[in-house]
Symmetry: C2
Subunit: 470 residues, 2 copies
Amino acid sequence: MSHPVDSVVSDVRTYIEQHRAAFLDDLAAWLRIPSVSAQPDHAPDVLRSADWLAAKLTETGFPTVEIWPTQGAPAVFAEWPSGDPEAPTVLVYGHHDVQPAAREDGWDSDPFEPVVRENRLYARGAADDKGQVFFHTLGVRAHLAATGRTAPAVNLKLLIEGEEESGSPHFQTLVEERVDRLAADAVIVSDTGMWSEDTPTVCTGMRGLTECEIRLYGPDQDIHSGSFGGAVPNPATAAARLVAALHDEHGRVAIPGFYDGIVELTDRERQLFADLPFDEQSWLRTAKSHATHGEAGYTTLERVWARPTAEVNGIGGGYQGPGSKTIIPAGAMMKLSFRMVAGQEPEHIEKVVRAWAAEQAPAGIRCEVVFGPATRPCLTPLDHPALRSVARAMGRAFDRPVGYTREGGSGPAAVLQEVLGAAVLFLGISVPSDGWHAPNEKVELDLLLKGVETTAYLWGDLAENWRHAP
Amino acid sequence: MSHPVDSVVSDVRTYIEQHRAAFLDDLAAWLRIPSVSAQPDHAPDVLRSADWLAAKLTETGFPTVEIWPTQGAPAVFAEWPSGDPEAPTVLVYGHHDVQPAAREDGWDSDPFEPVVRENRLYARGAADDKGQVFFHTLGVRAHLAATGRTAPAVNLKLLIEGEEESGSPHFQTLVEERVDRLAADAVIVSDTGMWSEDTPTVCTGMRGLTECEIRLYGPDQDIHSGSFGGAVPNPATAAARLVAALHDEHGRVAIPGFYDGIVELTDRERQLFADLPFDEQSWLRTAKSHATHGEAGYTTLERVWARPTAEVNGIGGGYQGPGSKTIIPAGAMMKLSFRMVAGQEPEHIEKVVRAWAAEQAPAGIRCEVVFGPATRPCLTPLDHPALRSVARAMGRAFDRPVGYTREGGSGPAAVLQEVLGAAVLFLGISVPSDGWHAPNEKVELDLLLKGVETTAYLWGDLAENWRHAP
């Protein structure tokens, strides 16, 4: 006699085992479609990828499946109502386009001919993001099979975009235009990863991002450094001084007002981060870097996950070719990016950066600041009921308690949080060795099936513990 | 009855007036040879220019005229002994190659078809440097005519190189190989200018120049600024901080040891500089700059002529293209140049720069410093007898006392000072409006003939006031 919960686990695992082969065959068929959104000659493949996914979602049982065109590549939308008026609505986000890949980049096999070696499935998109989108198809079927339901316990929506690898240029417009159809209580992003094979984790937030280019103009043209050097301001020096002034001696961003209103780490979060099996040498290898460095008083994980940054992504001015050129350059520029944490608004960052830059430029140097589009940060509190459901479902699938991480990068999920006003949660089973954007991208088959299993538990847990407030 | 001195002046002026037309015709013939050393297809023209000058110097009366080949373009050497064992030996330096020029660059007439408009001779090389080399031919003839001598009062040597506009790549080797033939008590450089049409001046020195490239290496490749930003050192930040640390808040170079041993300006020199009719607005227009800026406690002229500098000629790292790229760059570089004043040695500057750079680079950033060839500074004291002769001869030609300047740039003359151990003096009649290296280069005919006249007085004055110590 098994405990009722154990019976669900057993039923889910049996169902997955029975359907595993067909599931992997289907995923392989999808991975064969080279849906590279960044390469115009693959545009028909991106369309084919959307069609393929739409057909598969219909076959899975979603009563509504639509292909949503954009100015670029299409997204796929699917919806499966639970029938329960109090059930929460969950929107799963992922993408069906992939990064470019070519055998000669260093792949051991054709990137668009999936192959399994040592229980890993190798193909472009295996982890980023087709594999992680696809586990939702078998997951919802396992959920129904194990609970005897005919519809999911939550109102389940999927939005699988086709331009994520091209910077999601039309995503915000799409979401704004379809805001009524996309309405949700929570967004589940399945386009991330977890700590490692041995340490399943839930990500609780992403940093935001705002970027600018600062251009400094000095002499009207390059001038002779012998004739004039030492007596006029040099815009490359001014640019360098601006970059040098970004941080104080404690590694803190020195722009006045930069930290205004940020949500500080709680002691509990710091403890959870500290509980992770972090190894600095191994982290440095991943970072291909030779030392850690950053804001005093914070660990490396806190610095990349939970602290805002000011980073120079590029700097240039004057002569950079071989040999020398004795000039004072006419101008210099820098590209700065600011990672934001919860509580920071891009509009505020833009305001304080502009004020700071204007203050710094010396007489005789004109300063121009151009900001690009921004991505807001997102953060779900540890005690959010939906986050607790994700952690529980994942812990059940992995047979162990899960840890907590955040993501230092920034993504289009923030658009969903902002436009839909929904909590954003992350459910990803990819691991750092999966090789996103690199040759020999792969997904660990065991983890992929744990993803299936997690979603098989998640919808029931969510519906039980979090009711939609109509 | 005229004073004997006035009689020499009168004789010189009469002689010049009589030979003016032929002199200008000859110069025009030379200017028609497009001796552009930087353009390989003009190599035969550079050879032709050397031949033409050699023939003209023979015709002028130099008993020894030789064409000295180099690995590149040839130099012309001429020698005319005075016959007096105690006469000082003077070596005139100039160059017979010119900058590239094409009508379509904005010339109002063919750059290699000399034309006189409003008493100015327009042609590439008119001022830089054929005109200023050529005034020595008529000058020495006028000297002989007015004094009744058959040989000049000094041992006169000319070295007219053919690669100055290409950076004089073989000049040092040439001088070292021919050091015995070139031996001289003083070098007269006729490849510079004076303050203005109304203010004849003598230049007393040039700054030296040493240059380096500093390369900073961070991560092994560009890394993601989201995943790692805030927790590893950024080499573009390190480069910027290095450049920012070049100067203190008073505009002084902050590299420890940089000012060691420099020859400070005397009160008399500062007064002489202050006596020049300097107008900041007009200087800024020439500098195409919008403010003055530099070392506290010094005027603009002092800063460019007599103070050493550290200038960034170029800086680069990371992404500089359109849009943005969220990376921490793998590396960054800067090109620095240091103008040195008398008392500074390039070897010492290299040593202190290397020590300073090594000190600044943060952990995890590797720093590489590469120095190129250097040019030493040169300075002739105001009370040097040869300098006094130059100033007197010029004052006589211009009928007014001359002012004193220095040159902020650096040139091959320093090689002559160093290898020959000779005092270096500057005799130039070019003015800032002559358009060196620019379209519509010209020389003012009145000033060109004042150059002839100055040299007609100079050799006698030198021989009278400065004896060679055998």
